[in-house]
């Protein structure tokens, strides 16, 4: 008898319960025992990660991103935990489950964690969830609709952006003033400005101001 170990990290008990139910449903029909560990915050998750075999023995990890940071800020969000997990080269498959739906963050997560499964919470319903879990176990990856759309847009677009480009676009979209960009982007002010102008050219934006740039970038699926 095989045990299938699952870890679910999410601060909504309704969600963790549903996921648990889903897992049990899948495995009960196959006569496999599933063991589900639930963490509602990063502190307990981190504790388990460091001090127990829960994570190292896990087969599947459901990771919510929007979690309050751990005490002493070791991990600031689910992303950091995911990165830690990957760093330790654990064998578990990671399924990101988040309600974030901006392309910038999604792209970032794809890059940093490279999950086997990526579920945008509000994309899916019960049946899709079951399919997703099944797929992730047997033939990963499984990405929910929003993620697929993003990837479609990005692949089909000729525009290639590096991390700073994306960051600039993102910051602009949340209204960060140019002078404050320097604080969040590791470039000189002139470097940032150069990138910004370049982005405008890339996206074919002629108007002054950042509004059109952001709209275009959003249109193209970069935000």
């Amino acid at each position: 008898m095989n045990t299938f170990n699952v870890v679910i990290v999410d601060d909504h008990p309704l969600i963790t319960d549903s996921y648990k139910t889903a897992i049990e449903k899948i495995f009960s029909s196959r006569n496999i025992i599933s063991k589900v560990t639930i963490h509602n915050n990063l502190d307990s998750a981190l504790d388990d990660f460091k001090n127990s075999t829960v994570f190292s023995e896990a087969d599947l990890i459901f990771l919510d991103i929007q979690l309050p940071p751990s005490k002493d800020d070791e991990v600031l969000s689910g992303e950091d935990l995911g990165i830690k997990i990957r760093k330790n080269k654990l064998s578990a498959k990671i399924v990101i489950s988040t309600s974030l739906n901006d392309n910038f963050r999604i792209h970032g997560l794809l890059k940093s964690i490279n999950p086997e499964g990526f579920l945008i919470k509000n994309d899916i319903n019960k049946s899709e969830l079951l399919i997703a879990i099944d797929k992730v176990i047997h033939t990963p990856p499984y990405y929910s609709h929003t993620v697929l759309q993003l990837m479609r847009d990005q692949v089909s677009s000729d525009i290639v952006l590096d991390a700073n480009d994306r960051k600039i676009l993102f910051e602009l979209s949340i209204g960060t003033k140019l002078k404050d960009l320097q604080k969040v982007i590791p470039l000189s002010l002139s470097g940032i400005e150069k990138k910004r102008r370049n982005l405008k050219i890339l996206f074919g934006v002629e108007e002054e101001g950042d509004r059109s740039l952001v709209l275009k970038a959003r249109e193209k699926g970069f935000l």
Partner: protein, 581 residues
Amino acid sequence: MWNKITLHHSLNSRDTARVAESFWDLANFFYKEKILDSSYYYYNVAFDLYEQENDDYHAARMLINLATIQKDIKDYQTSEITAIRALSKLRRLNKKYQLYLTYNILGVTNNHLEQFNEALNFHENALEVAEDLGDRMLQALTLNNIGVVYKNLEQYPEAIRSYKAAQGVDSLQIKYPELHAMLVDNLAYARFMSKDSINVEQDLLRSLALRKEIDHFSGIATSYLHLGDYYLSSSDTSKALHNYMESREIAIDKKLNEEFLESTLALAKLGGGRSQEFYNDYIEKSTEFLQEERAVKNRFAKIRFQTDELIAETKRLTEQRVWITVVSVLVIMFLLLLYYLRVQQTKNRALVYEREQRIANEEIYKLMLKQQSRLEEGRQQERERISSDLHDGVLGRLYGTRLSLEFLNIEMSQEELNKFSALTTELQKIEKEVREISHDLVSENFFKDSSFVRIMENLLEERNKLGITTFNFQNSPDIRWEAINEEVKLDLYRIVQEATQNIVKHSGAKESWIAFWEEDCKIILIIRDNGSGFSMGEEKKGIGLKNTESRIKKWNGDFFITSSPGQGTEIRIELPIENGV
């Protein structure tokens, strides 16, 4: 006396010729009044002034007048000299009458000085000039004078001839009765002296009668004297005495010195009881008269020197006047300068105030902005909070709840299952909407130029709250408000403020539209309402509109207003966008 006034005026006007003329007139006046020393004085002043101006003609005329007076006071020597001076001036000029007068004086004075040949020469010259002038009166006068000279020379035939020639001038009795009477007398006497007695007494008496008629007193005295001489020669002593006495009486009465002496001497020579008395009288009076004459001559000599003083005084006064003028001009200039400085100061102050006003306006606008952005911030933060609450909290829980529902194992019929499925799908849709709302709450915020548009929106919100008119606002996103000068925005704000106030107060409009957009490098502002309107041309320039107009003019904008009763009103404002605006 108006002459004194002219004099005074002339002094002030520093016109030497005018001054001289005034003095001349004054002198003439005095001469007529027989105030000889004053007359002499002023002729002298006038002469000096004319000499100063190198006006030979007038100077000569003054000299003639002076010579005449000198002759009158019996200063024959000085008179001659003066007349010679006049002559030397006149020779260069073609002034015949003055020349005549001069020759005449010279003739008369030389006669008195007993230089008879010279006298005759001068009178001949005078006669020539008189003939040149064609003046018969002057000729008669000169001929008379020539006769007198000949008489003094005791060349009686020549004298008679001259007198007769003089008498040949017609209408003498009417035009020049004095000369006529004189000629009658002279002629009769000359004939008497040349021992011709025909009609002598008649003529002498005729002359006397003529002279009495014209009140020529010295002439009357002379006539009496001549009659006396005549009666004496015919040994009619009592008649002679009578006539001599008459002569003396008149001489005493009219103060005729020469005639007095002559008559007194004649009486003395008659002899008789009073002879000694008459001799004494004669001696006494002749001394007295001589002294008098000398005194007069001296006085007149002094007068010449005194005139210099008057001129100096005139000069001093005019100088004084110049000083006064200069000083007053300077004072006026100084006052003008002060006034000008005052004006400048006021202007500067005005400019300073203007500048302060401008700064204050900018301050006001900045404060408005600040307040606006604070409100903004507050709102923003609210929104962000709501957004994140929705996103993090609500969304997550909805999802969780939905999934849990879906995973519930409830027995239901197919129909119910379908319904259930539909409901959960609906829930999913709700989640999506919630997400979108959350998203929208924060997305567009950073790209509105908060400030000016926000301020406008606030203003209209406030107006809307009154519930009278509904204000609709539209702002074109093409307008780059952040690039536009704050004072302009403040003015636009005030314009909209006033206009909307008017709409609420006076038009009773239900709806109003305020819109900003850009066209041809101009900002266009339209304020329209569907209220009562007014007829154009009415007294529409209320203070509010005047203010609006002046504000627009300040920025070189245009202002159009159209309205008609019952049709509402539309205000259209166009402001050109230049580099400064």
